[in-house]
Every structure is written in structure tokens, then in C-alpha cells.
Symmetry: C2
Subunit: 283 residues, 2 copies
């Protein structure tokens, strides 16, 4: 399976946590493509060792440094750089890759996700989940409809877990042009747009909606989900949720006051990842 990740040096620690949970709780082999701008060679080497270690040498990390590629675009794409990496990944990934699963670093992988990986894209470019808290969802849809002028925006997808149809992206004539056009227009409005907006405006009709509880469970919203449906309890999460997403500003890896219901689980994997990494550093 192909996994796409992207971060800077500040996110390497949660990235390692995500990777430990990936190998601990699923049994596949992975080619993990890390697209980045300025992570040092030394840190990349250690991360390669780390992936070999936690996968028993069965999976590997492939580093793709995009400095040269995006240098010219840097100022233009400042606010959407990360999203740009995700949406235009097909341009710098090996041409034989037909699809890839993008994963944010602030995630715990709890269960196997073959079904998502083998989803039938039909004519769609992506598969993603919306976050269903009505206020947030409604506000984003309204904001995007007003700012974009489109009246067919009905969902606001979270881009933290994104199944990408690379083949179709490569074949789509307008794909890259649409992305760039959107960025230029946003820039001309002088708006600081959240990265996700790009996905939700440009590709609003090209996304398959997948289950939020299974594939993009917002770790802050346990009680919200449980109020909606009593059976969506902790056992449900452990049995069904593939990706537990630690969305939002407060992050369990540096905030000791983060005491949500999934904090202990996160800290457990954090400790595990830190220890493995320390052993590699000591070698």
C-alpha cells in the first residue's frame, strides 16, 4: 500500500507516533512517501531507520524533497503549500502509482483500512470524510459558497485523511490549472484561506464521502458522537474506527493539559514511539 505523508521538522514526533500505531494495528506492508521541504538529511535517515525498525524491515520510507520544485511558487502558495503537496502529489510521485492514501501526522491508526484503500473511485478524484458537527459544517459551507460564488457546495470535507486517485489526476487536463487558478484568485482577494478550502471548492464534485466515524473520527467529539448514537461508545471506536484524528489546536503530544478521553491512548503510543526513536538514536 502507498501512504503519503507531509510535514516539517516540528511534526516529526507526532508523525512517528502515527507510524507506530500504523504498524502496531495493521498488518500490511507500506511504501511511505514523505513529501517535505526542509527536513535535514540526518533526520530523514533516522526516520528511515525508524520505519525499518517498527516494520521489521518490511516497509520503507521514501523521502521526496520538493525544495527545487516549489521554490519559485513559495510566496504565491504560502498559505496553501501543504495542501498543494497533497493535491499535486502525482507530479512528484513515481508515475506507476495509481493511488495513494494521504494521512495527517496527528492521527492514531487503530484498525486495518483495506476497504478504503480499495474503494471504487468511479469518476472521482478523492475519498474523504466530512466532520458532522452541524454548526461547523454549516458555517464552512456558507463561507465557501459566499466566497467562491458556487451554489453547489453541500459538504465540507476534512482533508486530513484523503484517498487520492493519482491515475485520474494525471489524466485530468484541467486539474492543475484549476488548483492554480483558485490559489491566484484567493490571493487576489487577500484572503487567508484554510488549506482545506481548496479541496472543498475546486473538487467539490469529485469527492466520495466516506464514514467520519470509521475514517476520520474527531478525537475531541466523543461525547458529541455518543449523544447522536448511544452505540457509538468506546468499544465501537476500538472495533470500527480506522483513523482517530486529533484535530484542533490543542495537541496531546505537547499539551499536558490535554485530558480528553483519548489522551491516555495517545500518550501510550507517544511513549512507545519516543522510546523506539531513542534506541535508534543511541545505536
Amino acid at each position: 500500500m502507498n501512504i503519503l505523508i507531509s510535514c516539517d521538522e516540528n511534526y516529526l514526533r507526532p508523525l512517528r507516533v502515527m507510524l507506530v500505531s500504523l504498524f502496531e494495528n495493521t498488518k500490511n506492508k507500506y511504501n511511505i512517501y514523505l513529501i517535505h521541504k526542509n527536513i535535514s538529511d540526518k533526520k530523514i535517515e533516522k526516520l528511515e531507520d525508524f520505519v525499518e525498525n517498527i516494520s521489521d524491515n518490511k516497509s520503507k520510507l521514501i523521502s521526496i524533497k520538493v525544495d527545487a520544485l516549489f521554490m519559485g511558487a513559495k510566496t504565491t502558495f504560502y498559505y496553501t503549500e501543504e495542501m498543494y503537496y497533497r493535491l499535486l502529489a502525482y507530479k512528484y510521485l513515481p508515475e506507476n502509482l495509481g493511488k495513494i492514501l494521504y494521512l495527517d501526522p496527528d492521527i492514531l491508526v487503530l484498525n486495518s483500512f483495506e476497504k478504503l484503500y480499495n474503494i471504487d473511485f468511479k469518476d472521482n478524484l478523492f475519498a474523504a470524510a466530512t466532520h458532522s458537527a452541524p454548526a461547523v459544517q454549516g458555517a464552512n459551507v456558507t463561507r465557501l459558497s459566499l466566497s467562491s460564488g458556487y451554489d453547489d457546495i453541500s459538504n465540507y470535507f476534512n482533508s486530513g485523511i484523503l484517498m487520492i486517485n493519482l491515475n485520474l489526476a494525471r489524466e485530468s487536463e484541467n486539474y492543475e490549472r484549476e488548483v492554480k487558478k483558485y490559489i491566484e484568485e484567493s490571493k487576489s482577494f487577500g484572503l487567508l484561506m484554510p488549506d482545506q478550502d481548496l479541496l472543498n471548492v475546486v473538487f467539490r464534485n469529485n469527492i466520495i464521502s466516506i464514514s467520519e466515524l470509521e475514517y476520520n473520527y474527531d478525537a475531541r467529539k466523543f461525547l458529541f458522537y455518543k449523544l447522536k448514537n448511544k452505540s457509538w461508545d468506546l468499544s465501537y471506536v476500538m472495533d470500527n474506527t480506522k483513523f482517530l484524528h486529533f484535530c484542533g489546536k490543542r495537541k496531546p503530544w505537547f499539551d499536558e493539559e490535554y485530558i480528553g478521553i483519548f489522551a491516555s491512548l495517545y500518550k501510550y503510543f507517544l511513549k512507545k514511539a519516543d522510546r523506539i526513536y531513542k534506541n535508534i538514536e543511541d545505536m
Copy 2:
């Protein structure tokens, strides 16, 4: 290392969770002695397979059925049977075992515990931790002082994690007599005494006090501990706590409303243990 466990069929599920966490988070080999009264041969066999599976065949379960041994004593020792197994374990364990660590089934093992296992007993029979919530501690000390008539009871030890000096127990002339005397006296008072009282009255001067936070962390009391000392946060637990004890009546393995801060961690191991067990059943 020698581990002592004791339970009935109702506690086999949490017992498996404890065992999974033991092998997941420590690296030693164990001889696990299960003292029980009436667990079926079939279930014992499966548990043996389970231990072989999770330990990569490096550790083993040794079942000790005590039906015959205690049949006569059953009515007398009704209320203290479990504690009796613990305190008189040396009578039915192999004679060459010098020491053993007793562990309750309602525990997650988070870190290695060599230091406790290799504790210098000096002239003591046990090592155990008190639970420090002042109200509980005070009430138990007062209750025991009054009922026993001893004025030198100053601690109330939790018997859920108990390091036992088997050699000294075997050598102590009065040991078994004292245990039986206490039980007879309690019975004559017509009191329903908690199991732990026996340890705290009879052996009040033979217990080494060990760190509660490291060796018997009460999972219900995260906020209590943290109020006492700000640095006793989740990271502290993950780095330092060896045994996370799910004390009290509400248990995370059957109570979906149990949503304490360690609920997600417990459920994670519960799912893991259930899956491994199911695979063994399906074989």
C-alpha cells in the same frame, strides 16, 4: 520471573487484558501461576495457548487447582478465600520458588518492574502500596484499629499488587497459624471483612511500603494525584507507572459508561486481547 494470579471464570477476560499488557510492555520471561478453584479444563487449556501465543512461546501458564486442598476450609474461609490463596500461596507453589509477584486481573502493566521484583525484603514478608486518598486511608486505619484492638496500624495497604517473600513465609512458624486465627476471630465476630484487612492486620509490621504512583496507581484518581503534584501528569504515568489499577466497582471491560481518563487505553488492550483470544478459539 514468577507471577501469581488468581481468579474465577468471570474474570478471565480482564485477566487476558492484563496478560497482553504484561507481554506488550515488558520484555521478561514469566512463569505465571494461576491458582483457582473451578475454572474448566477447557478454559485453562485455552489460556495456556493464549499465554504461549502472546509471549512467542517464551512464557508459560501453570494452573494450580486448589479444590481438594481447600474443600474442608471452604465455609470457614468463604469471605477471605481469595486472600487466603494469596497469603498461603507458598503452600501449593513449587518449593524452589523464593518469591513471587501477585497481580490482580484488573490491571494494565505499563512498564518493567525489575526494581520491585528484586527488592530487598530484609525481614519483611511483603511489599505493597497504600492508596493515599486521606479519607479512605484514615477510615480504614480507624476501622481496623478498632476492630482488631491493635494500636500500631498506621497504613492500609492495597493487596492488588503484592510482592511475596515465599522463603520467609515458609520459614515463619507462626505465619499460617496467625492467618487462620484471624479468620476464626473475624468469623466469631460475625463480620464480613474485606479481604485486604487480613493482610493489614496480621502482617501490619511485615510489609515494605512501595510507591503507589509507580506500583499501584489507582486509575480513578488521576485528578487527585495531579492536584497533589502538577508533574504527576499523563506523561509521568506513561514513563513511570508500572501497574495501573482499575480499582473500584465500575470496571471498564463491562461498563460502557466507564469514561475515566484511562478508559481508552484499557479498551485498546481489551480489543487486542479479545481478538487474539478469538483467533485461538477459531484455530
